[in-house]
């Protein structure tokens, strides 16, 4: 599924496929690497990168278990001499649960909106070939390149006029809108692979377009849909700019913004700050452990080829 999820700009919405499915060579699942000899240079490089990845994570974990006065005298690379969970306690009692539940609400809402709008849209873009659907698709291609920063000022105006300022909706709606272009492209890519004959067969059986969408297109596009779910959820999880600018009070604060505020709240209490960073990573790390295959596969889909 990693191959054709992102549609090629050159071949957009053309009725005939530019590539025969038969020329696609799927690597055998247990394929050996092409050189059997070990590659010492590459091995060394990967170990170096491993260190670059692990050392900061290790330093973070170790420091978050150290009391503040010890942290200032010791090096974070040394293992903590008398580990303490005080920092975690402090963070958990500073409204962390509230931040987490807000973020979860935003993520679920964003995924729901993105799926609800982009699945039918991609379906229409693939199935109907009139000027409007082509135009709409081009609009989304363009949308991939719009940086969120560029529209944040007018969005601020819009949000204020809609009376949404400082609410969770003020975060949810723009985040969902900005997750849509990539989602539509990914879905169009997968839906395009559903063969025409299947639709024709269903049409002959008298199925309505809605029925075809729910009983054929959606089941066939499962891979693309899970990619979109992961992508949209990550966008919501990661979002910083929209919450920073469209919210103000404690009530609608999400996790990323909460972390940012901990900097001033905890001041120089860096161990507590790091404990909050660790805690913020726990939920998604749990998801990663459970659904590694889907997550990694889904993200390969976002990248496409």
């Amino acid at each position: 599924m990693s191959r054709d999820t992102l549609p090629r700009p050159g071949s957009r919405l053309r009725p005939e496929k530019t590539e025969e499915p038969a020329t696609r060579t799927q690597p055998s699942p247990r394929r050996q690497h092409w050189t059997k000899r070990p590659n010492p240079l590459a091995g060394l490089g990967s170990v170096i990168w491993l260190a670059i990845v692990i050392v900061p994570i290790y330093a973070m974990l170790s420091a978050s278990l150290t009391s503040q006065d010890k942290a200032l005298t010791g090096n974070p690379l040394n293992p903590p001499t008398s580990p303490t969970l005080d920092n975690y306690n402090l963070v958990l009692h500073s409204g962390f649960g509230h931040l987490l539940s807000n973020t979860a609400i935003v993520a679920v809402a964003v995924v729901a909106i993105v799926l609800g709008l982009s699945v039918p849209l991609a379906y229409v873009a693939v199935r109907t070939r009139n000027r409007w659907s082509g135009l709409a698709f081009r609009l989304f291609l363009l949308g991939v390149a719009i940086p969120a920063q560029a529209v944040v000022v007018p969005l601020y105006l819009l949000i204020a006029k809609l009376d949404l300022y400082d609410s969770l909706l003020a975060v949810i709606l723009p985040t969902a809108a900005f997750a849509m272009p990539v989602s539509v492209l990914v879905l169009v890519g997968t839906l395009r692979d559903v063969s025409e004959e299947l639709y024709e067969a269903m049409a002959l059986d008298g199925a309505s377009p809605q029925r075809m969408l729910f009983q054929l297109a959606i089941p066939m596009a499962k891979g693309g849909i899970s990619t979109v779910v992961i992508y949209a959820a990550l966008q919501a999880w990661n979002g910083f700019l929209f919450p920073l600018i469209f919210t103000q009070s404690d009530e609608p604060r999400v996790l990323t913004l909460g972390l940012f505020n901990y900097v001033s709240q905890f001041g120089v209490n860096i161990p507590a700050l790091l404990a909050s960073v660790v805690l913020s990573g726990v939920p998604i790390f749990a998801v990663y452990l459970v659904a590694r295959r889907a997550l990694v596969g889904g993200l390969m889909g976002v990248g496409g080829k």
Partner: protein, 271 residues
């Protein structure tokens, strides 16, 4: 199609509105008043703007080199399927699971001169702060791009390598004559994502350096944020934002031209 309307309302309309606002003066409270070209004139005369544009381009370029080289090598290496590689790739991926904010905070702490690993004020020197942003961005996004390259490398047909091996090409020859050319579309995809993504280094800059020391890491999005949401000069902020769109579009157009992304036909050359 409600989807189109929704997207248009929250993304396309605001872009037009941003352009309109760039011709007005607005403090965020009252109504915008038209001031003609004032903001744009100010933009052209602003020395910080020139510096900021240069920084943005430099940051994008430096991040591209850093991330592409490492992600490409790691991705190709990880495309093999031995067991230890699978385990290592899983570990490599971990940084991507933290949000940009969390990562920026992590390095904010680790680079703190009183606390961190290196007890030197890296973020206090302008080249140090710049390199720190490049490094932190790479630390976060290299896992993702490695994944893309890994996917790309697995799609390269085995026969090409077999044929090359029969012709007596060594490993490095194979890498430069087969792997790299075969991956060029993957490079393009990844590059486009990196260029668009490097504009989101805003969080990293805001948390790590606040644009400093002085204005030495104030990239365009940060300058826009300061003008708008710190100085409440939303007209000027909109001018910067419109300029940002121009730069981003320009960059992607150049990329498309240079790489022939539009053509995209001969993925299977040499088959």
């Amino acid at each position: 199609m409600p989807g189109v309307l929704f997207f248009a309302f929250f993304a396309v309309v605001p872009m037009g509105l941003a352009f309109y606002l760039s011709f007005t003066s607005w403090d965020g409270l009252g109504d915008p008043t038209p001031v003609g070209l004032d903001n744009w004139r100010k933009l052209i005369d602003d020395d910080r703007m020139v510096q900021s544009l240069w920084l943005t381009v430099l940051l994008t370029a430096a991040s591209w080199v850093f991330q592409t080289v490492i992600a490409l090598l790691l991705g190709v290496w990880a495309a093999g399927r031995q067991r230890n590689r699978a385990v290592l790739s899983a570990i490599f991926f971990v940084p991507f699971l933290l949000s940009s904010t969390a990562i920026a905070l992590l390095f904010y702490a680790l680079l703190d001169p009183n606390f961190g690993i290196i007890r030197e004020n890296i973020l206090g020197s302008s080249s140090g702060a710049f390199l720190a942003i490049v490094f932190v961005g790479g630390w976060q996004f290299i896992p993702f791009h490695t994944l893309i390259y890994q996917g790309g490398a697995r799609q390269i047909p085995e026969v090409l390598y077999q044929a090359a091996a029969i012709d007596g090409a060594g490993r490095y020859r194979q890498f430069f004559s087969i792997t790299l050319p075969q991956l060029r579309h993957t490079v393009t995809t990844s590059t486009v994502l990196m260029v668009v993504g490097s504009l989101t280094y805003f969080e990293t800059v805001l948390i790590l350096t606040k644009g400093g020391p002085g204005t030495d890491t104030a990239i365009l999005p940060y300058l826009m944020y300061e003008a708008g949401f710190k100085s409440y000069d939303f007209g000027y902020a909109s001018a910067i934002a419109s300029f940002l769109v121009l730069v981003a579009t320009g960059l992607s157009l150049i990329l498309v031209r240079l790489t022939g992304f539009g053509g995209m036909r001969s993925t299977r050359e040499g088959m």
